[in-house]
């Protein structure tokens, strides 16, 4: 009954979205305020309806209603409650419903907080949101309905993929989708602005918080996914350049570019057409990401044939939205003339370079991701494009971004002198070079990534500090610190996010350059050394979890004769899904992670044991957290809060 209600409200939400996409658009065109006013209640009603549908599906999962096909395919009564809930979006149909739920949430947010937007712009933005909603709800209802029932319900379900039964991955999709779908906001603002032919500082100020929010959610989502891969897959890799990972990384890169170019529009009224194009592309890459993940076309051309309906439908959505918006862009872009004048060396040109590097690096990722598909279709060549390609082709652009960042952050708007900026950064430069030299001397014969990563990280973080110090102006230390303390939150956000970027670079380079590994057969009672640690396998015993069987090892870690940890790496087997997983045991630390994995029993009685020392691994995600935190701090900046305050005063 509740399932049917959910199904029904989803269909109702589709009709509301149809109304929301047509009436306000016509009203905005004709200047009929009554028609435009339909947008806000429609957006709120849509949220309520989709929210109910989502709750209904969740109810089916939590109560293990095995008359619903989706629940049978992705759940089981013995599964812990958390994974019954996360099972709702751990599959194609349910994740689409989450997608639409978040879309309608963003729509309702515009209705709630968009009081300071011009009436026409708001109506158009909400109408465009409605159109995206229509497309995805149609997609769901026609090809991937989560509410389908089974005539002959089985006694129990097939269980969720055990790899997905993990707290890190339970929350990875919601954050990722908050990011993907958030990009639809910038898209709607961009298209609405194109329809109006007006892009100005005010527009940039409205767009930026939405983009910032989307980008920071995407950052968290990607970091969660990467962290999950690190501890779950059993060898401590954190990024694989997998098509699915690239799908989330491309909108992140374009989103980062958009964040920066929107500043130029806001402060200097330049780069307008480019910013609008980026806003369109950011959502385009979100759709392409959805297409890649949902159609399976990149994984294998043949998987596409398994489900041509879905792939073609998403391609159609992509074609309509990208084709439509890009044609509109081609027609209207020339009308978006720039106002601000600036010299070839200026903050503006620094941000142009930032945009160039970020978009080209995104293009490299995109091309590498679809290249196997292109090669097969065009030339009948089956080839692979994997991590070695991306590492070689993508990394140089990131190095360039890292080198340019402190300079670009420091030089003034309009006109700048490069020499002056570099003079201000002389301390940071000296620090970076000396650290690199020191590391180079200490790590004889290891990867160049070590000194390079340290130098770049030091350069960026020291550059951020120099910039803050400069912002403190002149005078006594006290006066300077006081002024630095009172800098706008936007500046603090920038500092924190940039420092986070440096920290992540350091973590990545440190792990890649300095990790060590040990693989061996170990009998119980035996011990071995890795780095400064001595590890003893005390015992191996069998156990049983809520829905799995497990083999647990007790491993004692000692350093210089003193015990520092007892770790329990596990090997699990999920009988319902008939899948094994490894659960690495990690002793987390600031300077290193000790990472233990227990493998197969060997013929002669021992166990295969793999151990790794991962230096500074946590800094990778620490940096990502800092980047997201920078976004949050920026979002609380006075100029956005003032806008929100204006709404409260008006309401």
């Amino acid at each position: 009954m509740i399932t049917e209600l959910g199904h029904f409200t989803l269909i109702l939400a589709l009709f509301v979205a149809v109304v929301q996409s047509i009436l306000p658009m016509v009203g905005a065109h004709k200047g009929w305020s009554g028609w435009m006013a339909v947008a806000e209640p429609a957006a709120k009603i849509q949220l309520v309806l989709v929210g109910f549908a989502f709750a209904a599906l969740m109810h089916a999962f939590v109560t293990s209603d095995f008359s619903v096909r989706l629940v049978v395919e992705n759940s089981h009564t013995a599964k812990p409650l958390l994974y019954k809930i996360s099972g709702v979006w751990g599959n194609h149909e349910g994740s689409l419903l989450l997608w639409v739920l978040i879309l309608s949430l963003y729509g309702a947010m515009v209705a709630w907080f968009g009081g300071n937007l011009p009436v026409r712009l708001r109506a158009r933005v909400l109408s465009l949101q409605g159109m995206i909603g229509v497309a995805f709800m149609l997609f769901m209802l026609l090809t991937s309905n989560p509410f389908l029932r089974l005539g002959d319900p089985p006694f129990n379900g097939a269980d969720l993929n055990p790899l997905l039964q993990d707290p890190g991955l339970a929350f990875h999709p919601p954050f990722l989708y908050l990011g993907y779908v958030g990009m639809s906001m910038s898209f709607c603002f961009a298209v609405a602005a194109l329809i109006e032919g007006r892009v100005d500082a005010a527009w940039a100020r409205w767009v930026r918080p939405w983009t910032l929010a989307a980008w920071l959610f995407l950052t968290i989502g990607i970091a969660l996914g990467s962290w999950w891969a690190y501890y779950e897959l059993g060898w401590g890799g954190f990024w694989f350049w997998d098509p699915v990972e690239n799908a989330s990384f491309m909108p992140w890169l374009i989103g980062a570019a958009l964040l920066h170019s929107a500043i130029v529009v806001e402060k200097r009224e330049a780069l307008k057409a480019w910013t609008v194009l980026l806003a369109i592309l950011a959502f385009g890459f979100s759709l392409i990401g959805t297409f890649i993940v949902r159609s399976g076309v990149i994984t294998s051309v043949h998987a596409f044939a398994n489900d041509p309906e879905r792939g073609v439908f998403i391609l159609l959505i992509l074609g309509v939205f990208m084709g439509g918006s890009l044609s509109l862009f081609a027609l209207r872009a020339s009308a978006l003339e720039a106002r601000g004048i600036f010299a070839a060396i200026s903050r503006e040109s620094g941000l142009v370079l930032n945009n160039l590097l970020l978009t080209v690096s995104c293009f490299v990722v995109f091309l590498g991701t679809i290249w196997p598909l292109l090669a097969e279709i065009l030339w009948g060549r089956t080839l692979s494009v994997g991590a070695p390609f991306f590492n070689a082709a993508f990394t140089p652009f990131m190095i360039a971004v890292a080198i340019a960042l402190p300079v670009g952050g420091l030089i003034p708007w309009k006109r700048a002198k490069l020499g002056r900026a570099i003079w201000m950064l002389r301390g940071a430069l000296t620090l970076a070079i000396s650290i690199a030299a020191l590391v180079w001397a200490m790590q004889t014969g290891r990867s160049i990534l070590g000194p390079l990563g340290c130098a770049l990280a030091a350069w960026i973080v020291a550059g951020v500090l120099v910039e803050l110090w400069q912002r403190g102006g002149r005078g006594t230390l006290r006066a300077r610190l006081g002024r630095i303390g009172h800098l706008p939150r936007g500046d603090w956000g920038k500092a924190v996010a940039h420092a986070g970027f440096g920290v992540t670079i350091f973590g990545v380079c440190a792990v890649l350059a300095w990790q060590s590994e040990d693989i061996r057969v170990l009998r119980t009672g035996e011990s071995y050394d890795i780095g400064p640690y001595s590890i003893t396998l005390d015992a191996v015993h069998e156990g049983q979890g809520q829905n799995y069987l497990t083999t647990i090892a007790d491993m004692r870690v000692a350093k210089a004769g003193k015990q520092i940890a007892v770790l329990h790496p596990e090997k699990r087997f999920y009988p319902v899904a008939r899948m094994p997983t490894t659960e690495a045991a990690i002793d987390y630390g600031i300077t290193r992670d000790l990472y233990l994995v227990i493998g197969d029993p060997q013929d002669d009685g021992g166990y295969a044991v793999r151990s790794y020392i991962k230096p500074f691994a946590n800094w990778i995600w620490g940096g990502a957290i800092l980047m997201a935190l920078g976004g949050v701090v920026s979002l609380t900046d006075r100029r956005y809060r003032m806008a929100a305050g204006a709404v409260r005063a008006a309401g």
Binding site: A229, V352, A375, V521
Partner: protein, 151 residues
């Protein structure tokens, strides 16, 4: 998401085999280091974008053993890789060689960057020499009046 595919393929087996096993490791550490390095550039043929060094699949183990056999037999790195590519096809190379049409893949990034740099240069030049703000158009004047009247 990675690894799921392989894990699914493996679910037919009772118990998984893991990436590089202790019994595969060569006695000569220099040779083993070369084998590890090469393994990371070779794709497991039944996995989704996973190299044979990390893969749990049986065929990845076969490839690892084959590669070590070739290295022990005295092959250079290139010869060992060629030997495997000859038998399993270009598909196993995770780093496609810049030959034939694949040159486009390698050149596209730097090429686009140069084009973009040129475009940015032209744009910056124009921004530097652009005429000062044009006076308000008739429509803008009307809109301004409209806005100020509203307050």
């Amino acid at each position: 998401m990675k690894g799921i595919f392989c894990a699914v393929a493996l679910s037919l087996l009772a118990w998984p085999v893991f990436a590089v096993q202790p019994d595969e490791i060569l006695a000569d550490p220099a040779l083993e280091a070369r084998a590890r390095q090469i393994s990371q550039g070779l794709r497991c043929p039944v996995c989704r974008n996973e190299n044979i060094d990390d893969s749990n699949a049986g065929i990845a183990r076969d490839l690892r053993l084959l590669l070590r056999e070739r290295l022990v037999a005295g092959d250079t790195d290139e010869a060992a890789v060629d030997y495997i590519v000859e038998r399993y096809g270009e598909y196993v190379l995770l780093r496609p060689p810049a030959q034939g049409t694949t040159i486009v893949l390698w050149a596209a990034g730097p090429g686009l960057f140069l084009v973009g740099l040129l475009g940015a240069g032209i744009y910056l030049r124009r921004r530097r020499t652009a005429a000062p703000d044009a006076p308000l158009t008739e429509e803008e004047r009307r809109r301004l009046a409209e806005l100020t009247a509203r307050d």
